[in-house]
Symmetry: C2
Subunit: 350 residues, 2 copies
């Protein structure tokens, strides 16, 4: 985020577009060539962010691209991203759930030890000693629940790792790498798109931003803005709608990055705000997935009631994180929305 609040910075209006003499197609080609080059240099490992950036650009700037080719490549990228993302998703869930359990079972002694190792406090009032002791401290089910989650999610991660390795050795992956090579040198354009001026990129980004605003308008933000609404447990609604908004936030953020050379720095503030919203929604996704993993673990046959009880508390704890993420989103979004950065003329067709 910039130092000044977004809403106090007037959007730049339609003037001041930087024109480096390139057409929209040339600017987009340069962006995709850079991303594809980065993808190829990283091989055999794959940076999921690069995959996502290329896929998002193909979606956002579809109007400029050969439709069949673009659609095919997007589907391949999406499939690969899904496959390779599984391993990391299991690792995230594992870290989150074990972290939650360790905090829930934390005792005074552990906190005292952590405090002693912390930085020396030099200023401000002496903090009151915190009586930190998690609700499940010394609960007999906690070690078993921890071991169960650890075992199940580590197994899931191992399987995902095997699947990922197989994928990276497959003919299909090699074909995808070939297509990324093509991207570096020769971007397949939609007939007639070649002469479009660079400002056409802004129009495409504007359409993506508009889709984002529409999707957010349909979210129950007013309910989420009320702290402790109880939605996490009593009326969780549809997590997928929030996930979809996360996808749109990322697409808009990436679209602004593509337009950055044109916008002369003025895309930086909204891009940073979008990146923050994306982090909040990533927390939403992670917590929702972790809650599901806890619920799934509780279905394991022959676990003890104490283990199941602890998993119930962990599940609720993660759902609370989901509610907290929605609350954060609902209180940070209006600032970006009011700023006009996403709907102003500078992103519209000019």
């Amino acid at each position: 985020m910039t130092d000044a609040p977004l809403a106090t910075q007037a959007p730049p209006g339609g003037d001041g577009l930087l024109d480096d003499g390139r057409s929209a197609a040339e600017a987009l080609a340069a962006h995709l060539a850079a991303e594809a080059g980065s993808f190829l240099r990283e091989l055999p490992s794959v940076d999921l962010h690069t995959l996502r950036r290329v896929g998002a650009a193909l979606h956002t700037f579809d109007a400029l691209l050969d439709p069949g080719w673009s659609q095919d490549l997007r589907e391949e990228l999406s499939r690969l991203g899904g496959l390779l993302g599984q391993e990391r998703a299991y690792a995230r869930r594992l870290a989150r759930l074990l972290g939650s359990l360790d905090s829930l079972t934390c005792t005074d002694a552990a906190v005292a030890a952590a405090d002693a190792g912390g930085p020396v406090r030099t200023a401000g009032p002496v903090p009151q000693p915190r009586q930190a002791e998690g609700l499940l401290a010394r609960h007999p089910g906690a070690p078993k629940a921890r071991a169960l989650l650890d075992r199940q999610l580590t197994l899931g991660r191992s399987r995902a790792h095997t699947t990922a390795l197989q994928e990276l050795g497959s003919a299909r992956f090699h074909a995808l790498a070939d297509r990324m090579t093509l991207l570096v040198t020769d971007l397949p354009l939609r007939p007639g798109a070649a002469p479009a001026p660079a400002a056409a990129l802004l129009a495409c980004a504007g359409a993506e931003a508009e889709a984002l605003v529409t999707a957010v308008d349909a979210l129950p933000l007013e309910r989420a803005a009320v702290a402790y609404s109880g939605d996490m447990l009593h009326d969780p609604g549809d997590d997928q709608r929030w996930q979809q908004v996360r996808v749109l936030v990322l697409r808009t953020q990436y679209a602004l990055e593509v337009c950055a050379p044109l916008a002369g720095g003025r895309a930086a503030a909204p891009a940073a705000a979008l990146a923050e919203l994306a982090r909040t929604l990533a927390r939403h996704r992670d917590a929702a997935e972790a809650a599901e993993a806890a619920a799934l673990a509780a279905l394991t046959p022959r676990i003890t009631p104490a283990t199941a009880y602890v998993l119930g508390v962990v599940h609720a704890d993660q759902r609370l994180e989901v509610e907290a993420a929605r609350h954060t989103f609902s209180s940070t979004w209006p600032d970006l929305d009011r700023s006009g950065w996403l709907t102003d003329a500078w992103l519209k067709n000019r």
Copy 2:
């Protein structure tokens, strides 16, 4: 609450004390006589609020009262209140936990039916249809957990009822009733207290208010003011400190009621604000006790893991209510605190 926010109403300062010519002892005697009369008229049933009001007055205005007599009676009232309060506490816990479970297992159909029976909406935007479906809808453990809580708390309530009936037939209770009769006609005063002017009551109430302010200052209000701090599960701290503040809020509220005839209506605003805080802290107590009851039910031998899982979620849900109550308190207290009503000279020794 009054219409205008408390903080915008200047405290009345030290002037304008209404003097009806009665001494402090006479005014206090009139108040206690009224409460004791109400207690005696209600017999054989007992209004716990009356017990609490008498006990609070004996505590707050102790400086005016015969010390041994006052201390003895307070202990008897406190013991009786504890005994008779159990039945109602079980009923509250039962209603709260079954309500939570019913909401957690609610399905769309149930909400749709409830909505259809609601008041006809005539103004404002048409609300979006809520996708209300609790997190535990159709969970196999939910009916068993509900039956278990119902059974255990109904049993607890029945036992408390029996104990209460025995108590009301005991010689000890009859002795207490005799002492309340004495209160109606003859208040035992501390030697030398008889001539104290009525303003001495305000000084006593002021001391109670000061104790309240001191106790609240020691609460972690800054942490509680942050929504979704996670304290409910990860760092619940000491519920008892909040319970103690509830006792002090009630004592101060009742003390202001005693002083009301002196204060000429200006005790009404702070008394109403205190009543609201007391309701918030009653929610804190109820939720904390309900969470404990859910945890206790989960220790029942031979329950299924599904039942235990549901009880874990219910426990966490009630702890979230505890956190929400603290959050509400932390955002309503500053208004009363800033208003100066509790610390201003009008309540001090004059």
